[in-house]
């Protein structure tokens, strides 16, 4: 039943800028580093000689959490806006489909779209390194994949939360403001304290790649994401649709 809703959702997102956003996010990240390395090519290649790929990954990694938080805010918001704008919820939910399937379909679609973003980021990283004439034999494939996917898994709680908020709030300004605030503060909150920063889910995308015990943050991301998604579904099933 969820697949039916999903196939319908894929049709609805046509021409709504979601695909554009999905590609422009990772391409923007790569373009930023292309500029960085292009302008200071000699200096950087000398400074990081022998560990060029690793240096590039660290530079990209700085911006991965903030882009992810923007992504997990904007994608659910655009998705919900399609239904909110003419209050299509009342039409959609009067169809013979369970509300749980409707909610799960929106969640699955967000995950699929953001996974595509992650794949574009991985491909972009390889292409950038290749164009900067980094040694192909040295390419740390495992690390590249980790950088591109682990922070996303760790940000699943945020995705579930924003999907829940965006679906329930007609006024999308509120979740978007919250999302932008979280995205910007995610740059600093990792540095507050070495003892309890790791307890804040906002830092999990960063720690899932940069910190020790990466698997812990990824696992916690999956777990909390699933819990919030369940809570959101439960609430959505019971609420009145006006």
């Amino acid at each position: 039943m969820m697949l039916k809703a999903l196939s319908s959702d894929f049709l609805k997102i046509r021409g709504k800028g979601l695909w554009f956003l999905i590609f422009i996010g990772p391409i923007g990240l790569i373009a930023m580093q292309a500029l960085n390395y292009g302008l200071r090519y000699d200096y950087l290649t000398q400074k990081y000689a022998g560990k060029l790929w690793e240096a590039l990954l660290v530079d990209i990694q700085m911006f991965v959490p903030i882009s992810l938080f923007l992504g997990v805010t904007l994608i659910p918001s655009l998705l919900s806006h399609i239904e909110h704008s003419t209050n299509a919820w009342k039409q959609l939910l009067a169809l013979p489909i369970s509300r749980g399937a409707v909610f799960r379909s929106k969640f699955a679609l967000s995950v699929i779209l953001l996974t595509i973003s992650c794949m574009v980021l991985a491909a972009g990283t390889v292409i950038l390194g290749f164009s900067l004439r980094f040694e192909l034999a040295d390419m740390p494939v495992g690390e590249i994949l980790k950088l591109c996917f682990l922070p996303f898994f760790a940000s699943l709680p945020a995705l579930a939360l924003f999907l829940w908020l965006c679906i329930n709030m007609r006024n999308q300004a509120i979740p978007i403001t919250l999302g932008v605030l979280i995205a910007i503060s995610s740059v600093f909150t990792g540095l507050i304290s070495s003892t309890w920063s790791k307890w804040l889910p906002i830092n999990w995308p960063m720690f899932s790649f940069a910190g020790p015990q990466q698997e812990l943050f990824v696992g916690a991301g999956f777990l909390l994401g699933a819990v919030i998604c369940l809570l959101g579904t439960f609430h959505f099933i019971r609420k009145d649709v006006s």
Binding site: R14, Q91, L95, R238
Partner: protein, 304 residues
Amino acid sequence: MKEWVIETKGLSKRYKGRYAVSNLNLKIEKGDIYGFLGPNGAGKTTTIRMLLGLIKPSNGSVHIFGQPLNKEKLSILRRVGSLVEYPSYYGHLSATDNLEAIRRILGAPAARITEVLDIVGLSKEARRPVKGFSLGMKQRLGIASALLGSPELLLLDEPTNGLDPSGILEIRELIKQMPKQHGITVLISSHLLSEVELTAGTVGIIRQGELVFQDTIAHLHQQAQGSMSLIVSEPEQALATLLQQGIAAKKSGDALLFANIGDHAVARIVKSLVEHDHAIYRVEEMRKSLEELFLQIVGEVKPS
């Protein structure tokens, strides 16, 4: 026993202590067109939302096709088509794609899209994005979506809201043929009696959340019989003339009012007035407006 397509028992919805719908017992027969009337804010839309499972009743039950809605929601909704208040649509998609998005969930055959577009007369505009449609076209697209799953029951909430007279006529004709051609039972809500009196077989009137009338349209007509008004040159004398002949009338301004009189009586009155040299300027039938009807019906029902 009759077969009820919709039957509600004691259906109520409370918002913050105030009843939007209270103790509603609707009975809708198979193959009927049921006109659901009431002024704005009377609880029509709330009722229809409860019938579709969009909102949960505070009390009472809904049975559709004889099955309880709260248990068999999906199998019931599979057989129901609906248009709730203003049409919902995806403006960036074409009419065909709007229907396709719904069809993928319903699992209806793809050919059905062309069929329903044809029924509502949108075939020519099928490829245009819906945001450029006029309100009437959007409303018709909404009806097409409701018909897409070949439903046995149609719930239409104010389907002619905001349409121009020709659009209203078109939709009315469309609704009229549903029971005849497809055996569909239709519930259509409106705040205008004139809107449903030509199509509906049965009417239910709701006021402040309570059902105050539920009967056939013929019975409603009987209860709501209009009066005749005559505007004459000398109302005082005319009144006296008629009283002499034993015809009861009331004077209001320049007009004489006659309640519940047949064609022959009208002819007799006119004839005798003319014979007595009264000039008759106008003979008018005063039909009761919905609001007057309401007051009458509520007045009759309340004391019991």
